[in-house]
């Protein structure tokens, strides 16, 4: 009894820390989250539904989903390829490569948009060539996809690299030595092993892709009904003092955030269960070895 007391704070300290910590979270997280929905429903449900039915809001939702779907295959392909090379093989410059993969995290979204304007804008490096061939990248959807690709670049790779490193390469080597082709090995051994980690990365990068504001704002040109994603539409409505419309659109994004958090928690729970099972299977072996 005494020993547990010695490694515990006095009750008043515990309750003090609990109130400070939870109070901080309440004011900085809880209140804003509740406020989004309260503001959106401030004038009743019918007006809220009406605001969501605006054609511009609907098209903004469509574009947001479209861009998120467009970047997904690129991010998955890059994430899996980078993690495969980094986690399963040794080569020179590996830690430099890992640092470079993190680079977009250190770049301001505004700068991420700017670099594509410098390349593809009307005065940019390829500006003349693009306008001669009548290709529009900046102030159009392709530029917004590029900016989103840049912003979401590290997410999946960052989840998969530590996971695949921890799993090692024994299982794949066994598959190959038993005569599996590269494709069979990947499909039957690697993918089942990494599926939850991959899903986790997809959830995170998708949330970022749908919510990105700064980078997309710079390259979008804010053309209504054409290059307006949902976050950009929130800004337009808000600046027009259309609070109900802005918060109605924002509430969709907040719902998306909540779905993301729930999905993330479920996947985390599944991953933990799988590693627990794995260590339970391995534990008797370890005891046997000693």
């Amino acid at each position: 009894m005494k020993s547990t007391r010695a490694t515990q704070e006095p009750a008043w300290v515990r309750y003090g820390l609990l109130s400070v910590g939870l109070g901080f979270l309440f004011f900085f997280l809880g209140l804003p989250l509740v406020a989004v929905f309260v503001e959106a429903l401030a004038q009743g449900v019918p007006i809220y539904i009406e605001a969501l039915k605006e054609p511009e809001t609907a098209s903004a939702i469509g574009l947001t989903v479209g861009i998120a779907l467009a970047v997904l295959p690129f991010n998955i392909a890059f994430g899996v390829a980078a993690a495969w090379a980094i986690a399963k093989f040794e080569f020179r410059g590996k830690s430099l490569l890992i640092t470079l993969i993190d680079l977009p995290f250190a770049v301001s979204p505004v700068v991420a948009g700017l670099i594509f304007i410098l390349l593809f804008g009307s005065q940019g490096t390829f500006g003349n060539w693009l306008s001669e061939h009548d290709i529009k990248i900046i102030f159009a959807v392709p530029g917004m996809i590029l900016a989103t690709l840049f912003i979401t670049f590290p997410f999946i790779a960052r989840e998969l690299i530590p996971l695949m490193q921890a799993q090692g390469k024994d299982e794949e080597e066994a598959a190959v030595s038993l005569g599996a082709s590269g494709f069979q090995m990947f499909w039957r051994v690697t993918l089942p092993n990494i599926k939850w980690g991959l899903l986790y990365g997809v959830i995170l990068s998708n949330a970022r892709a749908m919510g990105e504001f700064g980078a997309v704002s710079v390259v979008s040109g804010h053309i209504r009904g054409e290059t307006n994603t949902l976050p950009l539409h929130v800004e337009i409505l808000y600046n027009e003092y259309n609070a109900i419309g802005a918060f109605a659109a924002a509430s969709i994004l907040a719902l998306l955030a909540l779905v993301t958090l729930v999905a993330k928690t479920i996947v985390e729970w599944r991953m933990k269960k799988e590693t627990d099972m794995l260590s339970a299977v391995l534990a008797p072996e370890k005891v046997g070895n000693t």
Binding site: A6, T7, Q8, E9, L18, V20, F24, L25, F28, L29, P32, E39, F74, F78, A81, A82, W84, A85, I86, E90, L97, T99, L100, L103, F105, A106, V107, S108, V110, V111, L114, I115, L118, L119, Q123, F150, K169, E173, G182, M185, A207, G211, F213, G214, S217, V218, P231, L232, V234, E235, F247, A250, L253, A254, L256, A257, L258, L261, K264, T290
Partner: protein, 291 residues
Amino acid sequence: MAAKTHRVLPGFGLALGYTLVYLSILILLPLGGMILKASELGFGQIIDIALGERSLAAFRVTFGASFLAAAINAFFGLIVAWVLVRYPFPGKRFVDALVDLPFALPTAVAGITLATLYAGNGWLGQYLEPLGIQVAYTPLGIVFALTFITLPFVVRTLQPVIEDIETEVEEAAASLGASRWQTFVKVIFPAIFPALLTGFALAFARAVGEYGSVIFIAGNLPLVSEITPLLIISKLEQYDVLGATALAVVMLGLSFILLLSVNLLQWWTANRHKNNEPLEVAAAEASGVAA
């Protein structure tokens, strides 16, 4: 051994090749292009633009507010992480999941919500403004927005480290006569300090580049509450592409230094752990579990 495994597993050339090509096309070449564009100006002129009155004020606001936000998060984040790891309370899993909200909530949504909460007639603003505390449309609003955006970093870097602290060490300290406070200052805090610093640096780095949440609550007054990312955009909108590029390159350089120091910090943390490893291995061997 290493050479042999190269041959066993397929796809190394393809995977690494694809990684390098994709990385170069999407990240390295565009960033390099920007630096090349800035070099048209020359080093002296870039410095002149960065040190102009308006840019300098923007840098001061950006870095000052980011530092304050990261510091607020370091303090409260430590408490939150401690409470989440050590104390049982109802709804803990829900609160734990909610900590990631700022990563999941689009920044524009955070921006308009915080601006509405802290405006003169908002839920919080109506109580703060009579006290003379104006948050919305002031630099303080920037600090609050950045605090929200970077909230998860300190908590999430600290949680696993606090979980890893062995209670035996705390028991040893207590049995040697240390008070709980002494144990915290001399045993626990040194163990979690590198992670706290890493969380602080990650939050700071993220805050410096933030745009979406800030512009709604900042008021965006030049020289007072204008952040550097916004100044880059206003230069772009005035067709001052070179000016925008110069500022962007300076920001990129500063962010890169931050990223580098985060990596150094993580390397430092990992090495501290490595130094502890022989002991842990010895302890594990002593207790009969083969490593």
